[in-house]
């Protein structure tokens, strides 16, 4: 019996390839790594909560005031009827539901992979004040209005004032490079991927954050070019090695 395409809800942008969100990129890579058929449905930010309620997708967080917070990725799998939200839970679902396809988390490494994700995302945390303001410029108008308003509430200031400048930039950008150096230091020299020659969830985590930078900064920006030169081009090679898992262009364009 052939597998029907899984419906994959993602947030569009004006950047080349359309997809930009690091959390949805992990799952986009995952579908292509597994060779699972999927079909993207593009959802603008202000429509995410209504979509989730209408298809029965669980919130990914409960806010301090007790209200549910909905976010993408969400998938709807017509093969099982399952609706799953949260990239980590979707990764678990795909590994468990399609056990004969390549695993995101090879048996026995699941806990290590989950911990690694936290360590890697924490090491690259200095990205936040650079990428969030840059993302605002690649969203469609309705999403942009929503994104800027909610992120300015979160930061407590205008997004243009969030980006480090002058000396603060020198310090923050060095901290970011040091974060990537930390991840580089965990790896075994000569191994293209975290687990050696096998692509796993940990690689998708790193690559998804790189996609976020690529889409937000642009391929010709000094920021992106600088990052691609770090650690003897290691991150450029990772993006290039995973290009075959980026998915078909006809799907990627909104």
């Amino acid at each position: 019996m052939s597998t029907q395409p899984i419906i994959f809800y993602d947030i569009p942008s004006t950047a080349p390839g359309c997809a930009w969100s690091p959390n949805t990129w992990k799952i986009r890579y995952a579908f292509n790594l597994k060779g699972l058929p999927y079909k993207t449905t593009w959802i603008e930010y202000p429509d995410i909560a209504d979509l989730c309620k209408s298809i029965g997708a669980e919130p990914t967080m409960i806010r301090k005031d007790g209200s549910p917070y909905y976010s993408l990725p969400v998938i709807k799998d017509p093969n099982t009827g399952a609706v799953v939200s949260d990239s980590a839970r979707i990764a678990d679902y795909l590994d468990a539901t399609y056990p004969n396809l390549p695993k995101l988390m090879p048996a026995g490494t699941e806990t290590l992979q989950r911990g690694f994700r936290v360590a890697a995302e924490s090491a690259t945390d200095p990205l936040t004040p650079y990428v969030i303001p840059a993302v605002a410029h690649i969203l469609h108008p309705r999403s942009k209005e929503y994104f800027v308003r909610t992120r300015e509430e979160r930061f407590g200031k205008k997004l243009e004032d969030v980006v480090p400048t002058g000396e603060a930039h020198d310090v923050a950008w060095k901290a970011l490079e040091a974060g990537y150096a930390k991840i580089n230091g965990w790896t075994t020299p000569g191994s293209p991927f975290v687990m050696g020659d096998t692509v796993s969830y940990a690689d998708l985590v790193i690559a998804a954050e790189l996609q976020w930078c690529l889409k937000a900064f642009g391929a010709n920006s000094d920021s992106w070019k600088g990052m691609m030169a770090w650690h003897e081009g290691r991150w450029a090679r990772l993006i290039s090695d995973l290009q075959r898992y980026e998915g078909p262009n006809e799907d990627v364009h909104a």
Copy 2:
């Protein structure tokens, strides 16, 4: 050819079992997990730098002022002549040098294990203001004087003022429990160890921090008993499951 005992430099205390440092505990567990013969040489804090210089052990850090910082564990392996410092480098050395013994980091998981360590130690970071002041009480006089002086310099206040009290304690202790909940959330229900039924470096990282708490707080303290009740006794089971790798008592006593 039989393996000669590896000399293992550790810091003594007055606590039951003598060993208390989380970084040296990782290696103590590692020797016993591998079944490698070792002999502990106990070194008081003020003697660590001189010891390292005399045996050619590298510093584990360079301070901001450019001066070398020496710390334990350090091992000296008479089978190869190697002197290795830093628990992470010692773990790599033991896996590489004795490839036929059980691996701390099973092949392909090395990078994941290193990242997991950072994530786990960061999740339990709220331990610091509790354990550091408590450690002062279990050190021998010369080490205690050195430890209290250098840690008070680092914190910029008296160690007794570092311990959270009152409302600050409620917040900090909840943050600590949340940190352990985070690690618990990464694990697969029903798996005794991070990799399932196989003990690996990741388990030693968690257990070594628990040993630090056990020795500093004492087995009868409310803090220790509280931790052992968290997450359905998961951490108590881990310590108990790894008891067979704590090593012989005749070695543990200074």
